[in-house]
């Protein structure tokens, strides 16, 4: 986590050389170990061993779903927490990726789906999702702050109505059923266990990618732009270009999450890009806390557990009420989410070196 003074020091020399990039050729183990602490090992062991002691239901419904949703929510955390742009259209970008996979690949709607192999369809889907995200970003960065949320919401809802009304491309209200993960090298990714590890791989990849990106000159400049765009502009940074690039990167991650999520559900419908899901992604990100990428996954686990079990205690129909009240409580009483709450609890018992930043950015 970036402490305030650390960020200021980095800002002083914005072209600071980043840490060694994590590509295989330049893998410096001694440098890597410094960043790995006990809790990282514990969490990694738990997520790796989770299917061993969990039932297939837990592995798939709780584990894999949390990971896929967490990845989409993390793209929002990256945009909102580090770029200062809270976009409600991340689920739209994810949905665009899901729709593209369904249209280019195979689905129950034989007259629309083009039946391309997955290794063409999925990269294409990610490409289109990234392009769409860049376009949404280009639209919304033209105004600042609170306008972003309005514009992205308008774009997202417009896409929802397009999917709902249009039958020639999006198959209208029905959407696409039987959008299944492929079988690669004899491994059927529709099975709970392979799908869990697939989702885990991409979630970890996304998580470490964000962690890495935040230390690059681009990431540091982005955080600088969040804190003071005018000063960054005066320093010679192209604020608009950085913001659009952040949207593109977040769009790529949301696209991966969207492909995973549509494979998880086995379908893409207008409902999956509707307002409730757009807001759910925001709920997940805020629930966990936007101060750190891990918050998105934390929020996703809590959200999925609530979705699966809380409704058994109340009424199945009243899930929205539960999630609305939980969201309201979090926004009112702990604006930094569960991470902020945890930091507050910890600082009460020990003098923490991190001072909790108040409020959202």
């Amino acid at each position: 986590m970036n402490s305030g003074s650390g960020r200021a020091a980095m800002l002083a020399r914005p072209v600071a050389v980043p840490l060694t990039p994590p590509d295989a050729s330049a893998f410096d183990l001694s440098g890597l170990w410094k960043h790995i602490s006990f809790r990282h090992v514990v969490v990694l062991l738990i997520v790796l061993a989770f299917p061993a002691f969990a039932s297939p239901f837990f592995t798939y419904q709780i584990g894999a779903q949390s990971l896929a949703l967490g990845l989409i929510a993390m793209s929002l955390t990256f945009l909102g927490g580090y770029g200062g742009m809270v976009s409600l259209a991340q689920m739209t970008v994810a949905g665009i990726a899901g729709y593209t996979v369904a249209i280019l690949g195979t689905s129950a709607v034989a007259e629309i789906s083009l039946k391309w192999p997955w290794w063409v369809g999925v990269p294409f889907a990610l490409l289109i999702a990234t392009a769409a995200a860049s376009f949404i970003g280009w639209l919304s960065v033209r105004t600042e702050g609170i306008y972003t949320i309005m514009i992205t919401l308008a774009v997202g809802v417009a896409f929802y109505y397009l999917c709902l009304q249009n039958y020639s491309v999006f198959n209208g209200f029905q959407g696409f059923q039987q959008v299944y993960a492929p079988t690669v090298a004899g491994i059927n990714f529709r099975e709970p266990l392979p799908f869990y590890y697939l989702a885990l791989f991409w979630s970890l990849a996304g998580y470490f990618f964000v962690k890495y990106l935040l230390r690059t000159p681009f990431g540091i400049a982005l955080q600088g732009i969040r804190d003071n765009p005018r000063r960054m502009n005066a320093l010679g940074f192209n604020v608009t270009a950085h913001r659009v690039a952040a949207y593109a990167v977040a769009g790529l991650m949301a696209g991966v999450g969207g492909v995973l999520f549509s494979w998880y559900n086995g379908l893409v419908t207008p409902g999956s890009v509707g307002t409730s899901w757009m807001i759910n992604i925001l709920v997940i990100a805020v629930l966990g806390g936007m101060r750190h990428p891990i918050g998105a996954y934390l929020g996703a686990v809590v959200f999925v557990l609530l979705q699966t079990f809380a409704i058994d205690m109340i009424d199945r129909e009243r899930f929205n009420l539960v999630i609305g009240v939980v969201f309201l409580a979090i926004v009112l009483f702990s604006p930094d989410g569960l991470l902020g709450w945890w930091a507050g609890v910890r600082s009460r018992f020990q003098t923490s070196k991190f001072s909790p930043r108040g409020g959202f950015r």
Partner: protein, 315 residues
């Protein structure tokens, strides 16, 4: 933008519209005229709802995403009041009143304590919109509630040239929208409270420093803005219908109207409502499965060339 560019873009945008209008008039004059009236009456509803949204946003920088839920709340209450009392005017008053009270409660109970935290306020309104929508669905159910127009506005007006007959209720929406627009303009420009609101839009701190109780002004504005949503709900309960999901539709309409027209400007809301209402109905009439694309294209064009809306000013 240079004036030559302005001319270039007005030609690029204007010529296709004129060609389309000429073709549509020649092809089917009656359809074109009826679609025009439908568009203007829909615009009237959009204006009433979006004016409340833009009023609240302009003064408080509070993007009230629960605005659609207030519309639904007012519409449902108006429906039941009209059913039990039989009076449409009473229903309008009830719809306005209940939404205004709900807005007042939101401002006094929650937003007063998070002044200046735009994003947090917006998130609270999102949470409230989920809660209100679900509570309404719980209490009232998901079936369609369609309010009958009052007897004195029921039935068509006949013998109009070109279009022959048109619903008198829908036609009456035009004067209602115009009257509300003028009333709002007079209120904002000719009364003391309106003056305070306009002063607050320009500089909140200075208004407070000159001895005005800003919290009271905020509460009044929020109540009026929310009340307009409720009023729109009752009107919409007749024109469209009340069903869960309408809140999203009207929220989208309000968002696009204020983004296109310019945020915080009532005249801009009227302009945006006319553009959106016409685009939506012409889209539905001439290209049904792509009608939302026109809305989106308008949004894109406006944001590309006038990021703060057609009549928007820099904040």
């Amino acid at each position: 933008m240079k004036s030559s560019w302005k001319i270039f873009w007005s030609v690029v945008i204007g010529v296709p519209i004129i060609i389309f209008a000429a073709w549509a008039l020649w092809d089917n004059t009656r359809l074109f005229a009826i679609t025009f009236l439908n568009g203007m009456t829909l615009a009237s509803l959009y204006f009433i709802v979006a004016a409340g949204f833009t009023l609240v946003f302009g003064l408080m920088r509070n993007v009230n995403l629960a605005h659609g839920s207030l519309y639904l709340l007012g519409g449902y209450l108006g429906f039941f009041v009209a059913q039990y009392s039989g009076s449409f005017v009473l229903a309008l008053a009830a719809g306005f009143g209940v939404a205004a009270l709900a807005g007042l409660a939101m401002q006094l109970g929650i937003f007063r304590f998070m002044q200046g935290q735009d994003l947090r306020q917006t998130m609270v309104t999102i949470a409230l919109s989920i809660v209100i929508a679900d509570l309404l669905m719980w209490a009232i159910g998901a079936q369609v509630h369609q309010l009958e127009p009052p007897a004195w506005l029921n039935g068509p007006i006949r013998d109009i040239p070109v279009i022959r007959a048109y619903s008198s209720y829908r036609l009456s929406l035009l004067p209602i929208g115009i009257v509300i627009g003028i009333a709002l303009w007079l209120f904002l420009n000719r009364t003391r409270v309106g003056m305070m609101i306009r002063a607050g839009v320009d500089d909140r701190g200075m208004l407070a420093a000159s001895g005005v109780n800003v919290n009271l002004v905020f509460a009044v504005t929020f109540a009026i803005g929310a009340g307009l949503a409720g009023l729109g709900g009752v009107i919409g309960a007749v024109e469209l219908s009340m069903v869960p999901g309408e809140d999203t539709r009207l929220l989208l309409a309000s968002l696009i109207v204020v983004i296109v027209g310019g945020m915080g400007s009532v005249v801009g809301a009227a302009l945006g409502a006319i553009i959106l209402g016409l685009a939506e109905t012409y889209g539905l009439a001439y290209a049904p499965t792509y009608s939302v694309v026109f809305t989106f294209v308008i949004l894109t064009l406006v944001l590309a060339f006038r990021p703060r809306g057609i009549l928007g000013r820099p904040a």
